[in-house]
């Protein structure tokens, strides 16, 4: 597996997914994702899924792990750990060209639950179908469809000011 080609093809999508999941720590987590991909490239088995599925599976696990550690970090606000994040790093999502657009998108994602945000951003950026997302997330395919349907309703409400579906 050619790592440079893999990186060139998938970085933007992985990075966008992580920006939506973990915000300002997206670069850290993305680096961890590609480190793992580089280290475990020989373990990739095409019979178990395509490269996108494999890479986004790693990204999803790393994002979930990061969010759990962040929760712990908020519960134990110890000063001795402040130097672990270099001050030279700016929040990655501040580099979005359109600040207002960024705020609106992130605010819309805030209206979703953690699981909905995970599934809907996986859908947007991984380009996987519902069955492949179900395999990554451990949910059933119909459950993924239901979560996507509900999340899209909330995103429509937040971003277009309407669009609730009448059952």
């Amino acid at each position: 597996m050619d790592f440079d080609a893999l990186y060139a093809e998938y970085f933007d999508r992985i990075h966008a997914y992580l920006c939506c999941r973990v915000g300002e720590d997206a670069q850290d987590v993305a680096a961890q994702v590609f480190r793992k991909a580089l280290a475990k490239a020989e373990q990739y088995d095409s019979a178990r899924g395509n490269v996108s599925q494999w890479l986004f599976g790693i990204a999803r696990n790393e994002a979930n792990y990061h969010l759990r550690i962040s929760l712990l970090r908020r519960m134990i606000p110890l000063d001795l750990l402040h130097d672990s994040i270099p001050s030279r790093e700016k929040p990655v999502c501040d580099t979005l060209a359109d600040e207002q657009e960024k705020k609106e998108l992130l605010a819309a994602l805030e209206t979703l639950s953690s699981r909905e945000r995970d599934i809907v951003t996986l859908k947007f950026y991984s380009m996987l179908n519902n069955r492949e997302i179900a395999e990554i997330s451990g949910l059933s395919e119909s459950n993924v469809g239901t979560i996507l349907h509900r999340a899209m309703g909330r995103l429509r409400q937040a971003l277009t000011g309407g669009g609730h579906e009448t059952a």
Partner: protein, 135 residues
């Protein structure tokens, strides 16, 4: 390839996330906004992450290790606090029946005796003033 460059993918996503044709247009608008958002317009993140991957530094592991060490230290301090509090809260070295209801003097003569060790002498003449002023 940027995600927004592929309009076919956008249409496919809109189809897959829309249960009715009425919502398809709105869903397509929502998805397009997410796909068009460029989270790394200057390519700085791409270069920085690649550099971090190639140099092989595992900063997160070090950070996580420090957090776990801090969490363990906090748990240890908490356990010590609970243990120490338990020791302070032990019963004083007195016979346990002193606290029993029946043994505890209340208002009788034995209570007075218990309190100041003065013999009850309520019937002494000098404590009962007579009609002549106690004489």
């Amino acid at each position: 390839m940027k995600p927004h460059e592929d309009t076919e993918k956008l249409k496919k996503l809109a189809d897959e996330t829309s249960s009715s044709p009425d919502l398809r247009g709105k869903n397509e608008q929502v998805i397009a906004r997410f796909l068009k958002a460029d989270f790394d317009p200057r390519g700085e993140a791409r270069a920085r992450v690649l550099s971090a991957v190639k140099t092989g530094g595992n900063r997160r592991t070090a950070r996580t290790g420090r957090w776990l060490a801090a969490a363990c230290a906090s748990c240890l301090l908490l356990a010590l606090g609970v243990w120490h509090h338990g020791r302070d809260g032990a019963m004083p070295p007195v016979p346990p029946d002193c606290y029993s209801y029946y043994n505890f003097p209340s208002t009788g003569d034995d209570a007075i005796q218990f309190a100041d060790d003065t013999p009850p002498d309520w019937l002494a003449d000098y404590q009962f003033p007579s009609a002549t002023g106690g004489k």
